[in-house]
């Protein structure tokens, strides 16, 4: 269970004109209780989706209010929260640390599997489960973009987190890989929160949050929430566009 209690995120920005620094609100106030297995977050570029996603694992901490995951406050127990919440980014290159897939998955297992050869064996199992068995020893830079994103997912899921948060995991992928990653996410046992521009994928979620201008402007089943989002993006609604620059 993920709860947001009156969460606000603010940041200092410097005035390019040379004036005084000022505080801008990036998100909030947001109050949410997310218990659904599949939650999708949609919104324009710069609307605050990543900020919302990063709040869940404590990469971003609330300036006011609190975020609690399974009873753990992200501000007090960041490391414990990150062990429960896996996070996948848009660009797998930013996430993969080791030169080969088997070593990168093994790195994730360092904490839980102390023995190196046991760790390698487990890493190979995980890669096989994700259809990457024949890529295990290939240098990461020789993998395709889709294979790299699959590896990033495998490395995060290797530790069996209770929750998986993905920030636009398919934005860089072609249609075939996008479908494959979406299907994989749909098949997981974990609770999955996914930020996406893919409305087909969002339509399969149990609950959709629409973020605009740092606020959650619609929240509910995919049908009405996505209709609201489409209206917002095509200007059919009177609501202002979400694009904000600091």
């Amino acid at each position: 269970m993920i709860t947001f209690e009156d969460v606000e995120v603010t940041a200092w920005t410097s005035d390019p004109a040379g004036g005084a620094d000022r505080v801008v609100r990036l998100l909030g106030p947001v109050s949410l209780a997310l218990a659904e297995r599949r939650v999708a977050v949609v919104g324009a570029n710069g609307s605050g989706k990543s900020t919302l996603a990063r709040l869940v694992n404590g990469l971003v901490l609330p300036s006011a209010g609190r975020v609690v995951v399974d009873g753990l406050d992200t501000a007090d127990d960041g490391a414990a929260v990150r062990r429960r919440v896996g996070f996948v980014f848009t660009d797998p290159d930013a996430q993969i640390v080791m030169p080969t897939p088997v070593e990168d998955v093994a790195l994730s297992l360092r904490r839980t599997v102390p023995d190196a050869s046991e760790r390698t064996a487990r890493a190979l199992d995980v890669l096989a489960r994700f259809g990457l068995a024949d890529r295990a020893h290939v240098p990461v830079h020789a993998l395709s973009g889709g294979q790299r994103q699959l590896l990033a997912l495998a490395a995060v899921l290797a530790t069996e987190p209770a929750v998986l948060v993905c920030d636009e995991p398919t934005t860089l992928l072609d249609l075939r890989w996008r479908t494959r990653v979406d299907d994989l996410l749909a098949s997981l046992d974990q609770q999955v929160v996914v930020v996406t521009h893919d409305l087909e994928a969002a339509a399969r979620a149990d609950r959709v949050l629409v973020v605009d201008g740092g606020a959650v402007v619609a929240d509910g089943p995919p049908g009405p929430a996505l209709a609201h989002y489409r209206a917002l993006m095509t200007g059919a609604s009177a609501a202002p566009s979400g694009e904000r620059r600091p």
Partner: protein, 206 residues
């Protein structure tokens, strides 16, 4: 499409040679000793001997030559340029020595990474970095930094190649700013997201 060039370092080539089975610490100490010798001992004869030693070791490790040479091409070009410059300023012996020394160092470094699994390298560096704990540097972090460095080389190479293509597509064939500025911006962005991703994976939390 250009085949990915991974840089001279960071490519592990699985095998069962003496060098593959040698303890990582021994290889790192040998690399350090060789580097010191190469830098300290003057003279072309010593330089060539050093190179011969490393070439012999590479043959012993059975790392395929085509991989080694492809990774080394830019280094060879740099070495030739360095040698040519020294010759031009009137010291051909010095030039040849500098070129050979550079080749020796890079070949030795790539030999260590080719014969060592990154996981083992990480463990060895972490162990070696233990004394740094006293100055407030967690050994795990030092080991991770080395792995990250190796991973970053191909990313950097690709970024520069893409940025160069983009600059050429816009007609900036010769302007170095059109290459350096966007590549630097992207690498800073890359470094920031890597930091976030490490935190998200819980690496460096302990």
């Amino acid at each position: 499409m250009r085949a990915p060039w991974a840089g001279p370092l960071g490519l592990h080539h699985p095998g069962r040679s003496v060098l593959h089975r040698a303890p990582v610490a021994a290889k790192l100490v040998a690399l350090a000793a060789l580097s010191l010798a190469v830098v300290l001992v003057r003279g072309l004869t010593a330089a060539v001997a050093g190179l011969a030693l490393v070439v012999g070791a590479t043959a012993l490790a059975r790392v395929p030559w085509h991989r080694t040479t492809r990774g080394l091409l830019p280094v060879v070009l740099t070495a030739v340029a360095l040698g040519a410059y020294q010759t031009w300023v009137g010291d051909p012996a010095r030039g040849a020595e500098a070129a050979v020394d550079l080749l020796t160092l890079v070949l030795a470094g790539s030999l260590v990474t080719a014969t060592t699994r990154a996981d083992d390298l990480l463990a060895a560096v972490t162990r070696a970095a233990r004394p740094l704990r006293h100055v407030g540097l967690p050994p795990e972090t030092v080991g991770l930094a080395v792995s990250l460095f190796l991973r970053t080389v191909p990313v950097l190479v690709r970024t520069v190649a893409e940025t160069r293509d983009a600059a050429r597509a816009r007609g900036f064939e010769r302007d170095p700013r059109a290459l350096v500025v966007p590549a630097a911006v992207r690498m800073v962005g890359h470094a920031r997201s890597t930091g976030d991703a490490l935190a998200a994976r819980g690496l460096g939390d302990d």
